[in-house]
């Protein structure tokens, strides 16, 4: 099977679900890595490895979804529940701008009281004071939740958010895009079709988005493959995804607990994502969940992007994983691996090479 598969890929043909599952389950790590590396070099022949200077602002940890893999959420009446006020959020954005950042990744829990006007007001303020900042915020679950709370249709809600300043939508909350898995790990969260609809709607409004996958919890290899193909099929219709970002479940302090994916499993899934998602240009390595050493190695397993420098990150840190990286470190790991480090914006336009 491997030889026919290699030949097929060499000719630029797409692999199917069965072949993808074979690569994930049967092929050895370097075989999958080599295929992914070849495709990455073909798509990015200049040898750049990109990153964005960004900041996560988690505006609230109050969340009605209460996913079993999450260590970040709180009940509204918990002692350490919080909702950031506008002043605090603007101060955080100001800090991002001072440090040369371009992307604001604002995500939070599904708060029972925040309606669309709260976000509209906030986005307008941010855009008025910091027109250069790209608001890359609110995952599909938040969009659907906000629409429902506000008595709006999802498309109407998205249109209003866009008019207020939302530039693009991050791909979080995808977890595994198979409802059987979602029932087990995030029973109160939107199903995979809702996630896909928000993304397609955003794309049709001219907003680019990313797509993620959180694996290493309860899914089977077949579910990982299904997830990748569902993302590929959306991309075939819309061409709106800028990047795909696989990362691993972090078990500490979560209801699910237990083990997560190993280093070998991470690299294999990453490489497979590059191979299946040949219609998405950028594949991100996740230093936040894997650490700097693995992120550097990931550049040889299909990844061409190191994501954000994240001046602030709270969600993964709550689950016991607290890797930090400065812009200098990001540049260094790309350069030491033989690539040209480049700062990009949210749309993957190159701002500066190093």
């Amino acid at each position: 099977m491997l030889d026919t598969l290699k030949e097929k890929m060499h000719k630029g043909a797409l692999i199917d679900r069965k072949e993808a599952l074979f690569l994930l389950e049967q092929a050895d790590l370097l075989t999958v890595g080599n295929l992914a590396d070849a495709l990455r070099r073909q798509k990015h022949p200049h040898g750049r490895v990109t990153f964005v200077v960004d900041r996560n602002v988690n505006y609230t940890n109050v969340c009605q979804s209460q996913c079993r893999f999450c260590a970040f959420y709180r009940d509204a009446d918990a002692a350490d529940a919080y909702l950031l006020n506008e002043q605090t959020i603007l101060a955080k954005v100001a800090e991002l701008v001072e440090r040369g950042g371009t992307q604001l990744l604002m995500q939070g829990g599904l708060h029972p009281e925040l309606k669309v006007d709260w976000f509209e007001e906030l986005f307008r303020r941010i855009k008025a004071r910091f027109p250069q900042v790209q608001i890359h915020s609110l995952s599909p679950a938040e969009v659907v939740h906000t629409a429902k709370l506000s008595g709006l249709s999802m498309p109407e809600c998205l249109r209003r958010l866009q008019a207020a300043g939302l530039d693009s939508v991050p791909g979080g909350g995808a977890e595994v895009l198979v409802d059987d898995v979602r029932q087990e790990i995030s029973p109160n969260k939107i199903g995979w079709r809702d996630w896909a609809e928000v993304m397609e709607q955003a794309h049709s409004l001219g907003m680019r988005t990313t797509a993620t996958m959180m694996f290493g919890s309860k899914e089977r290899p077949e579910d990982i493959v299904e997830h990748l193909f569902r993302v590929r099929e959306i991309q075939q219709r819309t061409d709106g995804f800028t990047a795909f970002i696989p990362w691993t479940f972090q078990p500490d302090n979560t209801e699910l607990g237990g083990e997560t994916a190993t280093g070998v499993e991470y690299l294999k899934v990453l490489a497979l994502a590059r191979l299946v998602l040949d219609n998405i240009d950028n594949i991100q390595a996740s230093w936040v969940t894997q650490g700097a050493m693995m992120a550097q190695v990931a550049l040889f397993f299909g990844a061409n992007d190191l994501g954000g420098t994240m001046l602030e990150e709270n969600v993964v840190a709550a689950a016991g994983c607290s890797f930090r990286m400065s812009q200098e470190e990001v540049i260094e790991i790309a350069r030491d691996a033989g690539f040209i480090p480049a700062k990009r914006n949210t749309q993957y336009e190159i701002l500066e090479e190093y």
Partner: protein
């Protein structure tokens, strides 16, 4: 580059050696996966799918050390806060715990203590062996042997004979760092020279004890220093056949005093392990020490020529004092899971690489 890789491939297949110049080209290459494939080929020819680990426990009997190596965050002076020396009873208790939890090996190294007499070490070995006759004691680096020799005025050979008599089973490979003196003066000025390390280890081998060999990399050394280090090990191994495993140790920079050193990248770590596999054709085992590399890189290394993951360790101090963020201990089931998920066969071994159980 393709030519180099092809030439190395045919050397592996015909059992020929790679040269220093080829090793340097590999270090300078960024073709990580091609280097990994070659190393995997070389390893498969030697070890098939088998990946070894053991059930062991580390005991660091003292952190008081007369040396002040700049890369070390573990050593303390006699008057320093946080300095300690374990009493014999504490050591025996730790050994009993280890045996109770299934350990077959104690890995014991410590600082060069200014006051402990040589008899302390002999009594310690004898007491451990008396309590736990089946337990293998792998202890002391060449640096400690040299120190005992100057403490007692005996030759290294005499010291080793007495230790062996008292129950020493084999020796780890620490203290090698980087052999070149130009590097040693910057990172471990008081430590024995590279030549002396090799001389002591040669004596140990001649006295009938096996050892490992290490290399501390990723601080101030150049690629050529690493190759010089590997060359000296390969040469000594040709002569004594006393080395079991080679263990490249990734330098951990926290709390140390090596100016400008930032730690080892994942690519460099894997390349160094892979090139070690290719260069040291007379070493059967290349070990990825998960304490220094982290579990993820150590597991990935199994695709880059590595066939040994060390052991359960239990109480590691030296790497962790320097900022290693790996766990303190691993369960046997975790080690087996990591190995299996890398597509390999987990094999529990004893210190001398006798196979105890396949999982």
């Amino acid at each position: 580059m393709t030519e180099l890789f092809n030439s190395i491939r045919s050397k592996i297949e015909s059992g020929a050696r790679i040269s220093d110049a080829e090793a340097l080209s590999l270090f300078e290459s960024n073709d990580l996966l091609a280097i990994g494939e070659l190393a995997a080929l070389a390893n498969t020819r030697l070890n098939g799918d088998r990946v070894y680990f053991n059930t062991n426990r580390h005991i660091n009997y003292t952190n008081i050390c007369v040396n002040r190596c700049t890369f070390c965050a573990f050593s303390k002076g006699v008057e320093d806060e946080g300095c300690y020396t374990l009493a014999l009873n504490d050591i025996l208790e730790k050994c009993a715990e280890a045996v109770a939890s299934g350990a077959t090996e104690i890995h014991m190294v410590g600082g060069l203590h200014p006051e402990l007499p040589f008899d302390f070490y002999l009594e310690m070995l004898a007491a451990i062996r008396a309590d736990n006759p089946a337990l293998h004691v792998k202890a002391f680096t060449a640096v400690e042997i040299d120190y005992f020799s100057s403490l007692t005025g005996q030759t290294a050979a005499e010291v080793i004979r007495e230790l062996k008599q008292a129950g020493l089973g084999s020796m780890p490979g620490g203290g090698a760092e980087i052999f070149r003196q130009e590097v040693r003066v910057k990172i471990c000025p008081e430590k024995i020279s590279g030549e002396r390390w090799l001389e002591v280890i040669e004596t140990v081998h001649r006295e009938g004890l096996k050892t490992n060999a290490t290399m501390l990399f990723g601080h101030l050394e150049a690629y050529s220093d690493r190759i010089d280090h590997l060359a000296k090990l390969r040469e000594l191994q040709d002569s004594t056949r006393g080395f079991q495993a080679f263990i490249p140790l990734a330098f951990q920079p926290d709390n140390t005093r090596v100016p400008g050193a930032t730690g080892v990248g994942g690519v460099d770590a894997l390349k160094t392990l892979a090139i070690s596999r290719l260069y040291l054709d007379n070493f059967r085992h290349i070990k990825a020490y998960w304490v220094m590399l982290g579990l993820k890189i150590a597991q990935v290394a199994l695709a880059f020529g590595v066939n040994d993951l060390d052991g359960t360790v239990v109480e590691e101090k030296i790497g962790h004092d320097a900022g290693a963020d790996s766990p303190q201990a691993l369960a046997k089931s975790q080690l087996c899971g990591m190995i299996r998920k890398a597509g390999k066969l987990p094999v529990e071994r004893d210190t001398l690489y006798n196979e105890l159980k396949t999982y």
